[in-house]
Each structure stands twice: as C-alpha cells, then as structure tokens.
Symmetry: C2
Subunit: 249 residues, 2 copies
Amino acid sequence: MIPKSHPRYKSLISRDKIVNAYKSGILADSGMIAHGRGEAFDYLIGEKTTETAEKAIEAAAAALILAKNPVISVNGNTTALVPEHVVELAEALGAKIEINLFYRTPERVKTIWKFLKDQGAGEILGTEEEDFKHIEGLDSPRGSVSPEGMYKADVILVPLEDGDRTEALVKEGKFVIAIDLNPLSRTAKTASLTVVDNITRAMPCLTHKVNKLKTKNPDELKKLMDNFNNINNLKESLKIMLNSIKEFE
Amino acid sequence: MIPKSHPRYKSLISRDKIVNAYKSGILADSGMIAHGRGEAFDYLIGEKTTETAEKAIEAAAAALILAKNPVISVNGNTTALVPEHVVELAEALGAKIEINLFYRTPERVKTIWKFLKDQGAGEILGTEEEDFKHIEGLDSPRGSVSPEGMYKADVILVPLEDGDRTEALVKEGKFVIAIDLNPLSRTAKTASLTVVDNITRAMPCLTHKVNKLKTKNPDELKKLMDNFNNINNLKESLKIMLNSIKEFE
C-alpha cells in the first residue's frame, strides 16, 4: 500500500494501475513505456491541470455537448488509468464508447471490454463481432471503426492516441479531441483540440465541465469553441514547460 | 524485425531490449516505465550525443582512468540496454562490475549475473554470496555494497540511478558519475559528474574515450577533470532542450 501522504502518491498510484493492467493483458508492452514518457512531460508541466489545460477542457466539453454523435475512443492506457471516468463521461454526454487498439488481439479486446463493463459501461463498440468500416490512411486494425461508432461520429475524444490515427481521423472530417501531455507530439499538433494534461486529472475535469455546461444554449457553447485556438493553447503549455526548465537555470 | 531504415530504428531496438529484459526478469516493473521517461528527455535533446555530453564523457573517462578502485554499478536497465559495453568498459579500465538493484530479489540478481556472464564479464560483485557492507542513509538492499567493490571504490559509475543512492554515495566521499537523460533530476544534480545522454550512446563513447586517453599522463587527465563544471554542463544540456522546445514556438 502506498501511503496517501507520499509526495508522489498520485503518480505512484497511476504506475500501479499501469503495471496491473500490463499484467492482466489490458496493456501492450509499448503502453507501459508510453506511460513513462507521459510522466516526464507531466513533471515539466508541474503535475497539475494548468489554467491553459482548463481552457482546452472547457472548449472540449462544449464540442462534445454540441456533437450529434460523440464517441469516446478507448485504448489500453485509457482503460488502465480512468475506466470509471470513461463510463461517467459517456453517461453525461450520451456518448458511445469504442475500443480501438494499436496492438489489437481478440484477447485484449475482450479483457478491456470486461474491465469497462465491470465499471458499469453500457454498450461498448469496436468488439470482434462487428462488421468494421475502414478509415483511409491507416493500417488495419487501427483503421477499423465501428459503423455505429467512429464511422459516423462527428466529434471523437481520443485520449493517449498516436499521431497517424489522429491525422487520419481529422482528414475524415472528424473533430478530434486529444489528451496528450507532450505538446510537441504530432498528435497534439494535428488534433482539432488538444488537452495538455494528465488523463487522470483531465477526464474527471472534463466530465465536471460537461455537467456544468450542458444547460447552456448552443450559441454560448459555440462561442467557447470559436474562442479556442489550439496552436496558441499548445504554445502556452510549452511556455509553462520552458519556465519550469528555466527555474533551474 | 525492425528494418534498419526505420527513422526510429535505434529507439525501437532499445524498446525491444527493454521489453525482453522485463519478460526475462532482468527488469522490474518500474524499469520499463523509467525507460519511457528517458525516451521523452532523449527526444528533447535531439536523440544524439551533444557536444555538451561529449565534454562530460571526456571528463568521466579521465576520472575513471585516474581512479584507484573504479567500479561500474549495474542495475536492470543498464543490463538490458548495454551489457556488452559494461563488459568492454570494465575491461578497458580494469574496473569491477557490481550489481545493485532497487527491487532486489535473488532471482533477479542471478538472471542479471548470467546475462552479463554471457556477454563475457569477468568477476561480478554484489551477488547473494557476499557479506555486504552498508552505506548510510539508504535502506537495504540499495545500501548494501560489496566490501571489495563499491565499499572501497573511489570512483563509481552509476548509470540510470536514483537520486537517493547517488546522494548517499557522494556523502560517503565517492566520486559518482551518473548517466541520466533528465538534467533536472536529483541524480543529475547531486552526482559529481553527470552525462546527459542516452546510455546506449554514452557507454560506447565512454569506452572509446577511455581507450584514447589511457596513455595520457595523470596531469593532463587531472586538468580535464578540473576544467569540468557539472552544474554548468547541466545548464548547457538544458539550453539545448529549451531550444528544441522553442523551435516549435
């Protein structure tokens, strides 16, 4: 047991979840290494949700509320770290949950499916039973999407995603919301909207904002989206990282 | 097989080694995640040995050559990534190799011992058979050192080490050389000399420098060490990272 008083409590809890997910087959090898990369950038951002990230989360909430067919795309790392928040956010939005994996095997899909079900998820798309549609520019299985899910989605939340897939989805005309701690990554730069934050903080915050903004009228929500500039927001996050490096100098 | 033409060939090869080492019991859970953190900082430094790192490597080579009892401390990640270079460097210096693990189990020690032996290592210290001495300020087993190895060493190379251990060894009066991609880490700041570079590039480069400088006279070597300032060198590495972030802005 990690004591709550430990200065790195949250980080160690996340690590525990990642290791357990790896052992239970939710996570591929690369998922564990990817988590470490995230840790480094989280360290530079100060391991907290910045005001800059909050602005992005607010605009993301507006986009998801305005969506006709919002979909939350989940992979191993997302399932490992925030399964309960995926379920909560899907419920708050009436959004669909769809499994999409870089290293896809029927066993991994089933394990993830079961893990999300145990957290109370409703319907989960992207399982083996479906007659997938294909997204151009992506190899199968990453490009395989559910006809009822991502294929007809207008807004897709893709936490912890790779650059190729983000780019291909944007090319298909989707509004793609990424959660990525590295503001220099191709994912961050090509997404329609990027939240530079740790998913364990960003997801509950996003659900909170969705519940708060749900009653606003569409014009107000549209304004929140229009006032958001992704590249400028990424630059603000970079500035925070630069300052944390400069502090040492 | 990863094709050599792949733009991220070296990085993917390292990842493969890390995953295999994890599966064979050389690496603890946290070792895989730590590798990912390193990847992030390597990305910021441009995934190459900088001139700044080369200066540090040169001074490190001088310190190791001048040492009366040089020791190379190895852990899971070092064994996973550069076993052949550990053996090579130990031979070039007549240095001792000692196993020291954060998550120590007799099985892991034995697996690492065998792995290094297969790479042609001579005597390896830090195994279960020894009557360990203890370094103050560290819990066992991290503080347990071989009487013939680190206990009486004057210069210790501790690649990929944690801050606590680095600090405790420096307090014991050892000249501690760290290899760490994060110039902001406590390890980097507390070591006597820090090489901010990927261990897979730094270790062969260090062996090369040792072989090149071995014939120099002690005064020249001493001068190389005296001209080196660790904090200034860390600041130079940070500047390189800052510039790589700024390029995007």
